[in-house]
Symmetry: C3
Subunit: 344 residues, 3 copies
């Protein structure tokens, strides 16, 4: 598979600068791309690599166009453009349909003729699996689960009974959808389990990373709307709602009944405490704990800064005495104002 | 299945206010429950929903009893009461006994006649599986593992060799019990692995969430006592002991050789550093790092507050200069006391 | 299996103090070891247990030698010495070769005659599995994966297509190697997926903990060098490089394109933000977020201290007003210097 720069621009837009007949066969990085490879510049951190790149061509924004003599495609959003070009050269693998020998498919499961179920996968009664779905080895699709068209479950994905997933979902290995939410009521010394009778509803075009967990609702459903992207090792508690086209980075967690708006981003390791709401277009930085609701779009941060251990120890010891420090400043202010009254 | 309010109160206690013959078929939320559904009020956050609820009845504490005209059951602990009512309407699924075709059960495994093992599950020699156990698809029960009566292993649970689990455990998908603890000794440039020859001992009535890991001990066992509840994505290091009826929320971690007392709670994302002890009835807030032992019951917190990014940046820059700020205050105090000596 | 102290010292070095013919059959802890068991003292925290130990012998450093009357082996690095002695008494289980019935092995997979593949495991076409490898139940080895000699994949490990792993790797259950990195490009409201066409390359003698995830590269490979040890629940983003003999504790995360040097340690729950570098021999404390590159060996910390909830609340409220506090101190300094000019 090979396309000229001109053909790529005809397909995806953008302006070709330099030789339009350069032939492209694959994508590459500015640092290592060579003949036949197209690279991109999106992160200014890598701007210095532009001068030395040997890429056959570069996808670039107008403001950096003059920094290289290589053939370019100039466009507004080089990273998204690059994503599309890479999709062109690296199309998704397509499932060869068929339930493989060694798959455990219940009599009452409905599997589209154009879906594939690998050996070692389990599909339970009442599950409905759409055309073009591909259920990986060792994956489990519980009773009454519905999967839209073209879903990819990589090996060892678990979808508990009754969950519903839209079209074109990608679920990576170890993802668990629909386990019981953490619903327990203290009663004297013991805990009483609250049955988790809600489900999980996932929209279209959602991707869920490896070992990410999305719990089923306590009474009503947990909801992941269209186009949401979840990285690895994320925990989504029961009855959360994640708004359309929001993205959450690795190791983040939403406690129970959290509502995240549309087009939000949540950074790596961030936590949102229970029952809080985050409005549309809010951005939570890495490692930030959201401890009250956010009602205004913007970026919110609560990352505690690191230092060399010795400086950290000296400064941090004072943190526990901040109230006293503030009191001392207040006393100084009082002393000075007594000495030096406004009308003195 | 349907019960009147009077029948429910006869079973679980509490005082019926309003029509005792109202028929209940399921639980619901204050916001959405309708005919035949009973809701509850436990979290004051939802008090405002009481006025508008269309629930057939509400489980409520005495102090909120007057806030609604709906039929009520008034009781001391509405959330625990609700849990029991929900269990009544939503009993656990019961396993139809039998080793299913496609299960890999070793000759030397002892599986009670009343247990069920799903296709694709593996049970190794010497494992003992009690009555009423249900081993999900793709789960693994290692050599010599003992499972008490009525344990539920959802799909894709792994229990390494030699671990012992009490009665009525619920293990969610992706939970891994008994993997090697992180025992490595630095020797020059390299690490030498310390064999992890202890096991994991889990008491009765323990629930372990999806993708939670409990490591086996280095020499002696890691211990999870009766009634402990662990949410998803938790890491319990080797040789930890978690006391009876403690509960740990998602994404938390205990490093090695940590001891947590009885009836403790540990919040989401909290970490307890290695070799520390937490006494009975201590409560650790979300995202708090416990860096010294806790010897007194109470609530402990170390959550760094978030802010809009700009305010955060301004305040946080000063954190690294806190020692200097304290020095400046000390100098001001000295200057003022020289000017204004106590006997001046 | 039993060895005298003299035989152990002949094998591993060190100096025997006391009866050299004491017979040792297993390792134990200072607290609980008895006849036939050898304990060790490495962590000063456990020094007090030395007086009361009933261990048959103790591995100890010279500076603690006089604190016990028990037979000893005195050596420079008691913990590493203990690790080797424990390996002697607790050798790794060795796989009995053979593809077991119920394993799903593709026609085009190359499995060494001395490897073992358990029932329920899947090996895809083009995978190459070296001598002495042991592929656990329910594990998945994708197309074209290469595993060096003596690798142990515990049950439910997933290795995506094209990843290469060196000799003697230990992968614990739930580990996922080679899932797609989190590559998404915002385009208007939606995200465009960036195909992840790089792989994962893992060196020799690497151990990867339960439920840890190592993502494949976006364009080039993610690299884990020789001798790296990863604990449980860790997330390694796409295109990271972890240098030889570094160790990372549980629940830590590396965002994308992070480079960690050789012989580093990263504490539990720590996070390194994207595109940053950490030099050789740097040590990151638990729960620390690395937000700029580290260029000098040393220990770096950013752990926010905890307190009882009330003290925490009082001190933390002031954190958000630190800039104002600094302003007030500055004003006080100005007032005082006006009153008391340097040449006053």
């Amino acid at each position: 598979m090979a396309f000229t720069l001109a053909e790529i621009a005809a397909r995806f837009g953008g302006r070709v600068v330099g030789e339009p007949q350069v032939l492209i066969r694959q994508v590459g990085t500015l640092e290592r791309a060579g003949e036949g490879q197209i690279a991109f510049l999106a992160n200014p951190r890598y701007r210095a690599q532009l001068a030395a790149t040997r890429a056959a061509a570069v996808i670039i924004a107008a403001d950096a166009e003059t920094l290289t003599a290589r053939p370019c495609i100039v466009c507004d959003n080089p990273y998204a453009y690059f994503a599309r070009v890479s999709q062109l050269f690296n199309p998704d693998a397509v499932a060869v349909p068929g339930v493989q020998p060694g798959a455990h498919v219940a009599a009452g499961a409905h599997i589209d003729a154009l879906a594939r179920v690998e050996a070692g996968a389990t599909v339970e009664p009442g599950a409905v699996i759409g055309a073009g779905c591909w259920i990986g080895a060792g994956s489990f699709v519980g009773q009454g689960v519905a999967l839209g068209e073209g879903c990819r479950l990589h090996p060892s994905v678990v979808v508990y009974a009754g969950c519903r997933i839209g079209a074109r979902a990608i679920l990576h290995s170890g993802a668990v959808i629909g386990a019981d939410g953490f619903g327990i009521a203290r009663d004297g010394e013991r805990w009483v389990k609250v049955p988790q009778i809600g489900g999980v509803r996932i929209g279209d075009d959602v991707e869920i990373g490896a070992n990410t967990t999305v719990d089923r609702g306590a009474i009503e459903d947990t909801v992941i709307e269209d186009g949401v992207k979840l990285d690895n090792q994320i925990q989504i508690g029961h009855n959360c709602r994640v708004g359309a086209h929001s993205a959450i980075a690795g190791c983040a967690g939403l406690a129970g009944s959290v509502s995240v708006g549309r087009r939000c981003t949540i950074g790596a390791g961030a936590i949102v405490l229970g029952h809080l709401s985050i409005c549309d277009d809010a951005h939570v930085s890495a490692d930030t704990v959201i401890s009250r609701s956010i009602r205004k779009p913007g970026t919110y941060t609560g990352l505690f800064p690191f230092d060399d251990h010795r400086s950290w120890a000296r400064n941090t010891a004072l943190l526990r005495h901040l109230a006293e420090l503030a009191d001392r400043v207040r006393r100084l202010e009082q002393q000075l104002s007594q000495k030096d009254p406004p009308h003195g």
